[in-house]
């Protein structure tokens, strides 16, 4: 029976605490009286995954018919799936998407459906490479659909591929993939790694264009998404739900399939990452020391290769299918079952160690903007009710934050870092002054469409993701970060945790409360 997450009160006999530090690790002794939030232990995976998928497709939730009765010969079927940004880290083969899509295709074949197209729901993310598609879909699916051009990736900048479906009652443009919108049925295959994923966001965001996305991917919306992980209090989700209902009102039929994962995040050689420090066995300690010492001596390129090579053993804990909202409710409960940890009250200082990966640097480089987004956009938002840190509090993150970019994947990030952040870090000012010129830059559009680049506007979204945290926090400190990059982000660099605590005391007073978020594996803090 996996143990639930829990909050440790640090006392003198608490051993040093593990901090992620990008592609390295550190141990820090936290001050007595601090709290450490440990994630729940991984739930058991489903034993018969393929059986569970079949069961879900045959017994849908909400007012949906079982999938086989929705499939008729001569129909137009579009299967959309989450892109490379999920799950994190990429899972060991076979990927969930492969299992689900194969099950859907089996039923489509039985029903005699000929017109089937697969679309990677990229929105403005980078296109996936062939090996990445093969990993996600499996060779059987890839080889059957890719050569005939029936495996496609969304190109939101091709006016031919997009269809404007009018506006919601709030005047938000809804523009999604034309192929999907004109299909008799859209089957959307989700991997719901965190509570933010899925629901109406799948189609309304995953298949949408810049014109549509800018109605919810903006500073105002994200400052009112408290948090992103809590659909009911997230303006981002509210907007997506309006769009989703608008899409449904246009008569577009969506069969939503959502899957949840356990937090068995790291393979055996990194098992110490998923244990509480005082339970580390001699083997854990030896492997921690061997891993961390050798990583410290490894050139950073090789380190990136090693970490990006990690395939996670996490596995499916639930699968549900049917009508979007009914499905998403069950999914959210299942995500909470794995990730929710109750925490009593807010804290003055929140510390966290940032890992080597976020949704936008799979097989890529974690650049400073992504560091900010992972810390302030994602980890800060891993809460329900109230943020873990009080308003005006301090966030201390650990990450080396080198000024390193992937030239192919993140071209607009480089310019955003050098030309936008050099002038201002205020999200509202950035949005007003720079967004349009980046979003419409023909070169970024060209690279997004033909190469493997994130869209020109994507770094802006990363920064907007931080907007709620930036507004909420009194100070952000990155321990061990490259001072130049950290200052460019508008944060404060510190070389050690004690320096950082010293700096923080200017903001939160001399004897602050401190809470450490011991993630990943992921958790959601339910702050009372």
């Amino acid at each position: 029976m996996p143990r639930p997450g829990f909050v440790l009160d640090v006392d003198r006999s608490t051993p040093p605490t593990l901090f992620w530090h990008g592609e390295q690790f550190r141990t820090e002794r936290l001050p007595t009286g601090s709290r450490i939030i440990y994630p729940p232990e991984p739930l058991a995976a489903l034993e018969d995954i393929d059986g569970a998928i079949r069961h879900a497709l045959l017994n849908p939730l909400g007012d949906s018919q079982p999938l086989p009765s929705l499939l008729t010969s001569g129909m137009k079927l579009t299967i959309c799936f989450d892109d490379i940004s999920l799950p994190l880290p990429p899972m060991q083969r076979p990927d969930i998407r492969q299992r689900v899509i194969e099950a859907v295709l089996d039923m489509a074949a039985d029903a005699g459906v000929d017109d089937v197209v697969l679309i990677a729901a990229l929105a403005l993310h980078r296109r996936m490479t062939e090996p990445e598609l093969r990993h996600a879909l499996g060779d059987r699916v890839y080889d059957s659909f890719a050569p005939s051009g029936r495996l496609t990736q969304l190109d939101a900048e091709d006016p031919e591929q997009m269809l404007h479906l009018g506006t919601t009652d709030q005047g938000e443009d809804v523009e999604i993939s034309k192929r999907a919108a004109t299909s008799d049925l859209i089957v959307y295959v989700n991997i719901n790694l965190v509570a933010m994923d899925g629901g109406h966001k799948s189609v309304a965001t995953g298949l949408a264009s810049y014109r549509s996305l800018k109605h919810h991917h903006n500073v105002r919306t994200l400052q009112h998404s408290r948090s992103l992980m809590d659909q009911k209090r997230s303006e981002l989700h509210t907007s997506n739900w309006r769009m989703g209902r608008h899409i449904a009102a246009q008569g577009i039929k969506i069969f939503q399939i959502e899957t949840t994962m356990n937090t068995n995040t790291f393979p055996d050689q990194f098992s110490f990452l998923m244990k509480r420090e005082w339970e580390w066995t001699a083997r854990d300690r030896m492997s921690y020391m061997a891993v961390s010492r050798s990583l410290d001596r490894t050139p950073s390129r090789l380190r990136t290769t090693i970490f990006q090579g990690i395939k996670s053993p996490h596995q499916m804990t639930s699968v549900q299918a049917g009508e979007v909202e009914a499905v998403h409710e069950v999914t959210t409960a299942n995500v909470h079952r794995q990730q929710l940890v109750e925490v009593e009250g807010q804290t003055d200082i929140l510390t966290m160690g940032l890992p080597y990966i976020c949704p936008y640097n799979v097989n890529s480089v974690m650049n400073p903007i992504l560091v900010a987004c992972l810390g302030l956009g994602y980890f800060f938002n891993l809460y329900r009710n109230k943020p873990l840190v009080r308003e005006g509090g301090v966030l201390i993150m650990h990450h080396p934050t080198p000024r390193a970019f992937h030239p192919v994947h993140h071209p607009s990030y480089i310019d955003f870092f050098d030309q936008v952040l050099a002038q201002t870090t205020d999200p509202l000012e950035i949005e007003a002054k720079f967004e349009t010129s980046f979003a419409t830059d023909p070169w970024y559009i060209h690279l997004y469409r033909t190469s493997h680049a994130y869209h020109g506007v994507h770094p802006f979204y990363m920064w907007y993701w931080c907007a709620h945290a930036l507004q909420h926090l009194g100070m952000v400190i990155i321990v061990g970060g490259d001072p130049k990059s950290v200052r460019r982000l508008g944060f404060k660099p510190a070389s050690t945790l004690s320096d950082a605590l010293e700096m923080a005391s200017d903001v939160v007073g001399p004897s602050p409360t401190l809470t450490h978020l011991h993630a990943p594996p992921l958790l959601i803090a339910d702050v009372k």
Partner: protein, 302 residues
Amino acid sequence: MRLRPRARFPLGAPTWPTGVPRPPVVRDTGVNYDTAWARKYPARLARALWLDGVTRPLIKGLAAPDIDGLDRLDALPAPVIFAANHSSHVDTPLVLTSLPERFRHRTAVAAGADYFFDKRWKGGLWALSINAIPIERTRVSPQSTKLAVSLIQDGWSLVIFPEGGRSPDGWGQSHRAGAAYLAVRTGAPVVPVHLHGTRRILKKGGKGVRPSHTEVTFGRPLRAAEGESAADLAVRIERSIAVLADERSEGFWDARRNAAAGATPALTGPGPTGWRRAWALEENRRRQGTSKPWPPRSAARD
């Protein structure tokens, strides 16, 4: 108090936060040590080579055993429980090497879990070298019983010392019911074995090994009678070992007569404690000639 400063985490072991309750420790040593690997073919082969190639010649040189009563085992099918008196570490190899070929390489030894299996490396050493299995000495533990029963049912014979440990003073200790219980549970016959003289080679707490003459006597197999309790059988086993001892010193016929008259000398010796127990020990009676001068030389110089 710790003299050496403890290595710091993560090199050293982590401390346990006071606020967190410790879960019961499930250890993989002691009774929980898993010896299954030592009964796999490679381990058996290694052990057989070691037993025949090294231990047997060594025991022959060291203990010069005079083995008697093997004929009583002739018609006996495996598995068998060998129950022997116990006064020295030499007992186990002595019994094992004295067994007829057909038992020798398919016999496990019940060894005290607390003594032989408290560290993983020790457990590994004993499991490999003598096919030891961990047995709780002081109580009948379900885990060790289960293991022993399943081994016997698999056709493995078992060497067991019902006294539960080596004799502290040279006299026998009263028997525990373990061997009898297994015999009742499995229906396997119990062969009483009497060992004599091993204490002279190496006694409990003794230092150094002295070659000496030993005697090994196998008795007639005992079977649990219909409805017989383990306690009753244990008494029978104890008594038949005592008869074997008597047989060695007085001869078969006198021993039989003593047994019939209920006059077999008990192996546990006279009285509860006191000097008479030590006085009555055969080995102390023989020591006169070799005793050291008094006072010790070093003390005299002072």
